[in-house]
């Protein structure tokens, strides 16, 4: 019941928002924020929610409308609720009603992706989650090109995913396999390779990795900040989530075989994104390239075959969700005030906007992996895991982007906030209450996860285990060992 509500509730309310008059901006915002908050509390209060199962298809293979929490999806759903809440609150402008509705539909569709326990259902929601983003892009952007680029890239991936799913269903007889005790290699080696290739292609485009990434900076630059906050924080995790929850249990040997290629792609993304972010002038594109770099690191972890790295990947996925959302919201606030994102034109805002500067700073610091904030916890677990698994050189090479990250993130922050006052920038007031409330939960998440990632880790501890074990599902609080 809970999980069905998490998926269908936002979609239904989102579509219903279109019934409101176009001018009812604040009402739409409030309704959407309340729905997002409700999904958050629903997930927090009912972590042991039972799966929802409904018979769906019998031929040519059995498929079920099967939704349920998993070791990774639980925290992603919570992150998504927080990100949607923040994004909705940060909305402004003439299209607020539409974008709020589209954000809710997006939340429902993505909940569907992360909660689906059936491959066919997963593929369905996978394509569904493209639509709201495409609609926002085509509605707000001045030129249609980024919208089509986003759609075509992701549809190509979606097509590969659908083909792979169909092939899996036909060969294995059922697609109701995510998180259940299906033996790896159920489809045989030849089919396995092709099906894995289909999934991997879709996931790599979605993540994205070098050289399939060029849709991302364009999309992120064109989307309104509240939407890109949600997209970058959660949608970009769909591919990595797919690797960890679908291909890892089902195609373990194929993943091992693909490791050299994937390590090469991951390292390429890691370095490429870092260097490109160092030179980029558009603030939002800097963060987009930094995402490319950070997600490359998670890709390394996903293919490491090492439990510690999986746990680090889980932490880093959530952490990246928090800090990229915070960064984009802060940058959106900057853009809204100063009407530019060009780092060479901005500067000196910290004096007038200390709270905005604080938000941007915390996001940047978490992104550059400052110890004590969320990014660091994930980073060190992943890298230590890689090293422990014997991948010494990938781990050592992955250290370089950490140094680069500190350079480009500080360049971003200082370029906007520090330096002499720029006279031709309009003087606007600091963060409003709504914007502050939007960013606050993200910042709180960053600090919480940085200090005590225990709950995420203890859930993720079952990722690498054989699928049968994933049924035990108990999120634990951070274990405070008592104090004298």
């Amino acid at each position: 019941m809970t999980v069905t509500a998490l998926v269908l509730g936002p979609i239904v309310v989102g579509l219903a928002l279109y019934a409101l008059p176009r001018s009812a901006e604040s009402l739409a915002k409030i309704v959407a924020a309340v729905v997002a908050a409700l999904t958050f509390f629903l997930a927090i209060l009912d972590p042991h929610a039972s799966d929802a199962t409904l018979h769906w298809l019998a031929r040519p293979f059995t498929a079920a409308f099967h939704l349920g929490f998993g070791p990774l999806s639980y925290w992603i759903v919570i992150l998504l609720a927080v990100a949607t809440f923040s994004g909705v609150l940060a909305l402004s402008g003439p299209r607020t009603r539409n974008v709020a509705a589209q954000l809710l539909v997006l939340q429902g569709a993505m909940n569907g992706v992360f909660l689906a326990k059936d491959l066919l259902l997963f593929a369905l929601f996978w394509d569904l989650m493209l639509i709201p983003v495409f609609l926002v892009l085509i509605g707000t952007s001045n030129h249609a090109r980024p919208a089509w680029k986003y759609l075509i890239y992701n549809l190509v991936g979606g097509l590969a995913l659908l083909l792979a799913t169909a092939a899996y269903g036909v060969v294995a007889g059922t697609t109701d396999v995510i998180g259940s005790a299906v033996p790896a290699g159920a489809v045989g080696a030849t089919w396995g390779l092709w099906i894995f290739a289909g999934y991997a292609f879709a996931f790599l485009i979605k993540t994205p990795v070098f050289p399939l990434h060029t849709w991302m900076p364009d999309t992120y630059a064109e989307l309104p900040a509240p939407v890109v906050a949600v997209v970058s924080s959660v949608q970009s995790k769909a591919g990595l989530y797919g690797f960890l929850t679908i291909t890892l249990p089902l195609f373990g040997s194929e993943m091992e075989a693909a490791r050299p290629l994937m390590f090469a792609l991951g390292l390429a993304a890691l370095l490429y994104g870092a260097f490109a972010a160092l030179a980029e002038r558009d603030a939002k594109r800097v963060v987009a390239y930094s995402s490319l770099s950070h997600l490359g690191l998670i890709l390394l972890a996903v293919f490491s075959g090492q439990q510690l790295a999986y746990e680090g990947a889980a932490v880093y996925m959530i952490a990246h969700g928090f800090f990229s959302a915070a960064l984009f919201l802060a940058l959106g606030a900057v853009e809204q005030r100063e009407e530019t994102r060009d780092l060479t034109r901005l500067g000196g805002l910290m004096g007038r906007n200390p709270r905005l500067a604080g938000a941007l700073l915390l996001g940047s610091l978490a992104a550059l992996g400052l110890p004590g904030l969320a990014g660091f916890a994930g980073e060190i677990l992943i890298l230590t895991g890689l090293f422990k698994a014997g991948f010494v050189w990938p781990a050592v090479v992955a250290l370089l982007p950490i140094v680069l990250a500190s350079a480009y993130m500080l360049r971003l922050f200082q370029g906007i906030m520090n330096g002499p006052d720029v006279p031709d920038l309009p003087e606007r007031r600091d963060l409003t209450w709504a914007e502050g409330i939007a960013i606050a939960p993200l910042v709180a998440g960053l600090v919480w996860l940085g200090v005590s990632p225990g709950p995420v880790i203890s859930l993720a501890a079952t990722i690498g285990a054989p699928p049968a074990a994933t049924t035990s599902f108990v999120p634990e609080g951070s274990r405070v060992v008592g104090s004298r």
């Binding site: 030179a279 400052l370 422990k388 500080l410 002499p420 225990g454 274990r479 405070v480 104090s483």
Partner: protein, 651 residues
């Protein structure tokens, strides 16, 4: 409970002052100082359990098995905690006077309190990851405070440089953590040190190397030292607390903490000893050509930390830690005194434009004199005991070459410190001399702020009572003189008894008995110091030198070798070898690869579809007879194929 309080109060202060700074206004300083003061008193009350064998330990939280965090107060961290909170408290009080009237008064104290918290995290952590957290957070605090005047481009750039170089160090420590976790499976100090025997020599060396990269970045050791002189862009109390007394000595702490690792790896000892000695020498040489009073002190800090690193690196742990202790007092005193001078001269930092301040600022002169005597190691002053301990232990442990470098450096130290003292306080006041007469042609290029540059931030001065600034310095003076006496009495000294059995027995590099007794060694060092002093005296303090000081200073300014003016070209080398290529590569990725190569290749897909369309279009002639011909040809081909296939089958 008390230990958590010690650790947590400064964080509380930092958050409070940051959040409610505008409301607190001028109360921010006293509140921030009081919290650190309480923290100091609480630390003192923990003396008994901390000084016992094994120390005092509080578990805090777990991430996953093997990755648990806790606070640990033992003898080593006790020394650091006392200095951080004690000297930190004095500098907080001093800052109330120094920063009075600054627009961001409360923000300054929020940062300072946050720094104290971060530094306590660093020294109180019981495991390597917690240490790394503290390591990163002090870097952040340092970044905040160097870039405190964030409207000033030079301060912003210096802050970024310091942060990025320190991240290089963080990465080094991360590397060491990888090795430790891969081998031990846990991050605690006790876990790692308990299994030192199971490490191979190469593994040990790599761990020590990783840790030392962290130390080199944080403690400004060659070649990662270039951020420290630039860090003087921060307010002077910051230079005193972070970039002299506490944060930059974190490297010394880490090596002393990891004494079991260093004792087991001769390669690591040699490497660290050499780097430490090199830093001591290079820093001291650069100190001789600086004119900015804070940069002189910055290079002397670098040089003195070189001594400490050399000491703990070769295994003279007690001496190295003692030098940290004495240095914390006398260097804080020197910096705070320079702050009094800078304050009195309305933000003038160039010693060439000072002179004759002995009569105008007598208290500052006395304080500076005591500090200089202490740093030079004049007998009876604290620096004498600690420097001597490091140098003679280095010789005892079989590093005669490092010993020689240390002795020479002691002489150079005496030269440049007395040079600063004489130029600043003797002769006549030169503040009204035209800078060009002193050879200062491009004040901006020389790194000297043009007059009134940050007037906006620091004006107006002088509302706070003068004792707020002179009081803390007065408290530091007796410590600068006396604290070294802890080490008086060889084996039975208070210092030796305090650390009895804490550090592993020193490992001899070469099992030889030095041909020099301690008395002769002391005399040798003293001789060098006297020579250094004498040269400085002749050049800067004799009556003829004082008479035509302007001409002489001009000549010296103009004739300084370019190599030294540019600090051995480290900055230029980094710029040309690392920064520019990285940026160029990024530009190439961003402006060429992405839009042209990748997107270009992707655009090839629709373009080739179009091309194929054109090709097929040309078949559509519209001529019915041509279509008929095509059909016929097709039929003929089919028939021919089957005819041949049938013929083949028949055969």
């Amino acid at each position: 409970m008390i230990l958590e309080l010690v650790w947590f109060l400064p964080l509380l202060g930092g958050v409070l002052l940051w959040a409610f700074g505008p409301q607190l206004r001028s109360m921010a300083g006293p509140v921030g100082s009081a919290l650190v003061g309480v923290s100091f008193i609480a630390t003192c009350s923990m003396w008994q359990p901390a000084a016992s064998v094994g120390g005092y330990h509080v578990p805090l939280l777990d991430w996953l098995p093997g990755w648990s965090f806790g606070l640990q107060l033992d003898r080593l961290s006790l020394v650091w905690t006392l200095i951080i909170t004690g000297v930190g408290f004095l500098i907080h009080v001093y800052s109330i006077g120094y920063m009075d009237g600054d627009r961001a008064f409360a923000r300054f104290f929020a940062y300072l309190n946050f720094f104290v918290f971060a530094m306590l995290t660093l020294v109180l952590s019981d495991n390597f990851v917690g240490l790394l957290v503290g390591w990163g957070l002090v870097g952040l605090a340092s970044y905040f405070l160097i870039g405190f005047w964030f409207h000033k481009p030079s301060a912003v750039a210096a802050a970024r440089k310091a942060f990025v170089m320190n991240v290089v160090g963080d990465v080094g420590i991360m590397f060491a953590i990888f090795l430790i976790v891969a081998k031990v499976g846990a991050t605690g100090y006790a876990d790692a040190f308990g299994k030192v025997a199971s490490f191979s020599g190469q593994e040990l060396f790599l761990i020590c190397l990783g840790l030392f990269i962290g130390c080199a970045a944080k403690s400004a050791q060659v070649p990662l030292h270039t951020w420290l002189p630039d860090a003087m862009e921060g307010p002077t109390p910051v230079s005193a607390l972070i970039h002299a007394a506490t944060m930059v000595t974190a490297g010394v702490y880490l090596i002393a903490r990891c004494a079991p690792l260093w004792s087991a790896s001769a390669d690591a000892r040699n490497l660290v000893g050499v780097i430490g000695a090199l830093t001591a020498l290079l820093g001291a040489i650069l100190g001789c050509v600086q004119w900015d009073i804070k940069r002189i002190l910055a290079y002397s800090t670098m040089s003195q930390i070189g001594y400490m690193i050399m000491g703990v690196g070769v295994g003279a742990f007690e001496g190295g830690v003692l030098h940290f202790l004495t240095h914390a007092f006398f260097k804080a005193q020197l910096f705070l005194t320079s702050g009094i001078i800078i304050h009195a001269l309305h933000d003038e930092q160039d010693v060439r434009l000072m002179g004759g301040l002995r009569t105008r600022l007598p208290f500052a002169f006395v304080a500076m004199l005591v500090g200089v005597l202490a740093i030079c190691g004049v007998p009876g002053f604290s620096g004498f005991f600690s420097k001597d301990a490091i140098l003679y232990d280095t010789l005892l442990l079989g590093h005669p070459f490092l010993y020689a470098v240390g002795v020479v450096t002691a002489g150079i130290t005496a030269y440049y410190m007395f040079r600063m003292l004489f130029v600043t306080f003797f002769g006549s006041y030169r503040g009204d001399v035209d800078p060009s007469e002193l050879g200062i042609r491009h004040p901006e290029l020389a790194g000297i702020a043009p007059a009134g540059h940050h007037a906006e931030e620091e004006e107006p001065h002088g509302h706070a009572p003068a004792w707020l600034m002179s009081g803390p310095v007065a408290v530091l003076i007796p410590f600068s003189i006396l604290i070294g006496w802890l080490n008086f009495g060889g084996e039975n000294s208070a210092w030796a008894r305090f650390f009895n059995g804490f550090f592993p027995a020193p490992a001899l590099n070469v099992a030889t008995i030095p041909g020099l007794s301690e008395t002769y060694s002391t005399l040798l060092v003293l001789l060098c110091v006297i020579v250094g002093f004498a040269i400085a005296y002749v050049r800067y303090a004799l009556p003829p030198a004082l008479a035509d000081a302007v001409v002489r200073l001009r000549g010296e300014t103009i004739r300084t070798p370019a190599l030294l003016v540019n600090a051995y070209y480290f900055d230029a080398a980094y710029d040309y070898l690392l920064v520019r290529p990285a940026r160029a590569l990024g530009e190439w990725f961003d402006r060429v690869i992405d839009p042209l190569v990748i997107d270009g290749a992707v655009r090839e897909v629709p373009i080739s579809a179009q091309w194929l369309g054109h090709l097929f279009r040309s078949f559509q002639t519209g001529l019915v007879r041509a279509y008929a011909l095509t059909i016929v040809i097709g039929v003929v081909c089919f028939v021919a194929y089957y005819a041949f296939a049938f013929a083949g089958g028949a055969r």
